[in-house]
């Protein structure tokens, strides 16, 4: 599903920083993988590259058969829209939109009709067990609830790939566990390919595969 071949990413600045160093990785379809490592090891950069938010300095990235390093910005956006769901540490919900609207946003962006958007959004919120919070604003929700909204949004079109960047990082441990259960549950039910960047040992343990990064290189790659 995801192929990285000798991918490097350097950030220009006063001193050139190498975030990823000649990294190769293959993630088969349906696998749930955790990425761990110390700060600055390149975890988030790896996720951003796979999610098409950024482009590699060298090397190739293939997602579901599409070479991400070769397509235009708009095509990259389409890949994101159709194949990837993002889950952020800070949820990144739009504060003026209700839960329903937030979840429906990606669907609207694809030009779906209002009715269709609403129907799907309800279904997704149902999935994350927030069917009672449809018209609430994000501010009125707890952290765990917000993350569930964010997950529902990430699932909008049931993308084959879910990318989660510290999904539990901003939550207390109980809530974090709840979210983790949700993600695992979704993985099981939707058979999505999931990459989770995490510091949380519990999260890493619940994944089928664990990758450890250090200085932009894979130093450990374990399948449980």
């Amino acid at each position: 599903m995801i192929h990285l071949n000798e991918v490097s990413k350097q950030f220009a600045g006063k001193k050139q920083v190498t975030a990823l160093d000649n990294l190769s990785l293959h993630v088969p379809k349906g696998e749930m993988t955790s990425i761990v490592g110390p700060s600055g090891s390149g975890k988030s950069t790896l996720l951003n590259l796979i999610g098409g938010l950024d482009k590699p300095t060298s090397g190739t990235i293939t997602l579901d058969g599409t070479r991400l390093d070769q397509v235009s910005d708009d095509d990259l956006t389409r890949v994101r829209r159709d194949k990837i769901g993002f889950i952020f540490q800070f949820f990144h919900l739009l504060p003026t939109l209700t839960c329903l609207q937030n979840v429906a946003l990606p669907l609207h962006l694809r030009g779906w009709s209002q009715a269709k958007c609403d129907e799907r959004a309800r279904e997704l919120l149902d999935l994350v067990r927030l069917e009672k919070r449809l018209t609430h604003l994000p501010d009125e929700l707890s952290g765990g609830e917000r993350q569930r909204v964010a997950i529902a949004r990430a699932l909008s079109v049931y993308p084959p790939v879910l990318l989660a960047d510290e999904p539990t990082g901003n939550l207390d441990s109980a809530t974090g566990a709840e979210i983790l259960r949700l993600i695992c549950d979704l993985h099981a039910r939707l058979n999505a390919t999931i990459l989770v960047v995490t510091h949380d040992a519990a999260v890493a343990r619940s994944c089928q595969r664990g990758i450890r990064l250090c200085d932009g290189r894979i130093v450990e790659d374990i399948r449980q």
Binding site: D54, D74, R81, F86, Q89, F90, L94, L105, P106, L109
Partner: protein
Amino acid sequence: MMLFRLLTLPYVRKHKLRTALTVAGVALGVIIFVAMRTANDSVLYGFQKTVDRITGKAQLQITSGDGGFPEEILERAQAVPEVEVAVPVIEANAGTGKQGQGNLFILAVDMTGDRSLRDYDLESGEEAVIDDPLVFLAQPDSIMITREYAAQNGITSGSKIALETMQGRKQFTVRGIMKPGGLAGAFGGNLAIMDIYAAQNVFGRGRTFDRIDLSLKPGVSIDQGRAAVERALGNGLDVETPASRGKQFESITKIFSIGATLNSLFALLIGLFIIYNTFAVAVAQRRPEIGVLRSLGATRRQVRGLLLIESVVLGIAGSAIGIVLGLAMARGMARYIGTYISDLYGLAQHTEEITADPFTLSMAFAAGLVTSVIAACIPAQKAAQVDPVSALRKGSHESFQESESRKRILGAFTFASIALIFWFWGGKSGFRLLTGYLSVVAAAVLLTPAFVRLLVRWMRPVLRLILPVEGALAADSLMQAPKRTSATVAALMLSISLVIGLGGVANASYASITDWMNAAINPDLFVGPSEQISERSFRFSASLGDEMRAMDFVEEVQSVRTTRVRFDSTLVMVVATDMESLSRRAHPKVIAGDARAMFRDAAAGKAVILADNLAMMHNLKLGDTVEIPSPAGILKLPVAGIILDYSDQQGALLMDRTLYIRNWGDDTVNVFRVYLKHGVAPEAGKRGILEKLGDRSRLFVMTNAQVRAYITKVIDQWFGLTYMQIFVAVLVAVLGIVNSLTVSITDRRRELGVLQAVGGLRRQVRQAIWMEAAGIGAVSILLGLALGAIILAYYLGVIRDEVAGIRLEYTYPFGIAALMIPFMMAVAWASALGPGESAVRASLVEALEYE
């Protein structure tokens, strides 16, 4: 200061564009103020200096408005025991016909003896400035020019130069060259001296002088001298010091001044919102930073102080830039105003240098600074109230609290009531109008947030209809930051209302003047000494009228003499013509009195007719007695009627020509109004007159259409400056939108990042921003067009009561409003282009970063 260096400077560096926009917001207001005031001051100062220079050693001057008076006055003045010397002067402005050389200002003095040379300090020691004084006097083509002019044009003594005169283009012989400095420095050296009696002929002045310069016997004070001269000459003539003569121009430039002050205040007000916006956003953005500061032990005062220092620095920068650019602009504007006044009033004037009045500059500086600080006050207060704990939490957003809204609306109602009270009651007109005007603006500004919320809510479905996602996003963004949106809308609304107000005035003026022209400007031909009807250097002898009357294609000729007389310290126009003929031919709109009776009384020389604006400005009513100073003494005549007449901005007064000739001892003519026999084409009539008289006299025949075009051109010129101010106001507003959108986009970078991360295409993001701009534009236009309707009423009031006394009919300028809609929408869209692009080009990773 430490805080300033550590916190402010990096922030400024990071937000260069926004800082620049904020500074520009202050600067533009200051520019208008400085430029207009300085230009006005410079023109006035230019007049003053010119008056000084061409005054010689005179302590007092005798004038009669601007019309001149009979020669005999001179001997009477010379006979006054307190008078040491009294010398006559004629001033004229003569074209040289040379490209780029402009006119020569002719100062005609008595060249008998060498007094003039000494009084004007023209001699240069041993070298005689005049080759042969007797030849100079004996030959009426003698002229003396400045060394500067001679050098520029390669003229030496004995050279010929051509000048436009009453006798057509005439060759003059240079028989003297003035040394530089003093008088020769006036008009940038474009000055020539002639013998006064020769000038009387050449410029058709008959036996009149323009003024007499007096110096008094040693030991006689100015006041004693003035009293003695007034006793001897009667009080129909003006006896003034040269300095106070320049004051007459003040009332002319005042018109420009009032408008400029109002408009620069407006610009500063718009600037206020831009600054407020920037600061409010800066505070919001730096909340975490401020929170950290507070948690590290910074007091509320320190935080507030930091923000205020920032505003002071911005204010200083903006004011300084504004002053520099304003002064640069003043030069061009001074030339414009100077030319306008010269053209209209026939005054020769050169505004070569600009005069920076320290008072104006400090006022401008203070205004810029105060605006900036006031704008920063509320955000600074907000910053001081930041709670360290909550500030460190992520993701806060602003909204209006209910109590705040209530206070605002209450304030708005208070101001609106004040405006209403002053509109109907009020007291002194200027105060009444200004208070009302400011109250209306204040009320409108206070109500803006409420209107914005309302309108955006209404607009949301509309926007969604156009582009469902983008529209909704745009509307939500507008509602999400009501303060930001309101400040921008307020700025834009104010500038749109300014355009509507000023445009409405322009429209109404054109309409009224067209009406007047239709009623009053109906002769087939105008025969004048210049293409400019206002030319006053040249005048015709009365006999020319008789010659035209004798032409077989001419039906009737009205001889018109226009001059200006002092009237309550302003110069108003006297129009002397054949009233009986006028009453048959022209049909002015009567404001007060009976048309037949007023013309009958005026024709009999028993009364005068006033222009409406004169009556307005001087509070005169039908039957009142007006006192008109004339060389023969003060004429006291009743007002027989008031008519609509726009002959002069300062007001005009119509009297019969015989009355004028009797009292002014002057039968010269400024312009002949010629009615042709039925069936004679204007062009044919024009040719006929030119054929018979053209080679004998300087003569321009203009058709009715040409005269109308000329008048329209004068009004265009008049509004030229206004248009420029409108332009600046719109520019300020554009800055406002750019500023607001830039701020909005920076504010929402993460949000826009998320949008793109979850699948928003660039196009969609871009369009969302455009929609936001369109939303701001639409709301502002709606509010601006409405506020403009009220502003216009105030402007018309100011014009009626303060400036020109002209009663303009209130007509909403729908045409301009219709133009404003697409224009402002386009402006809004254009100003969204840059911010929109920067939003979609920004790195997604950075946008989504947590820091």
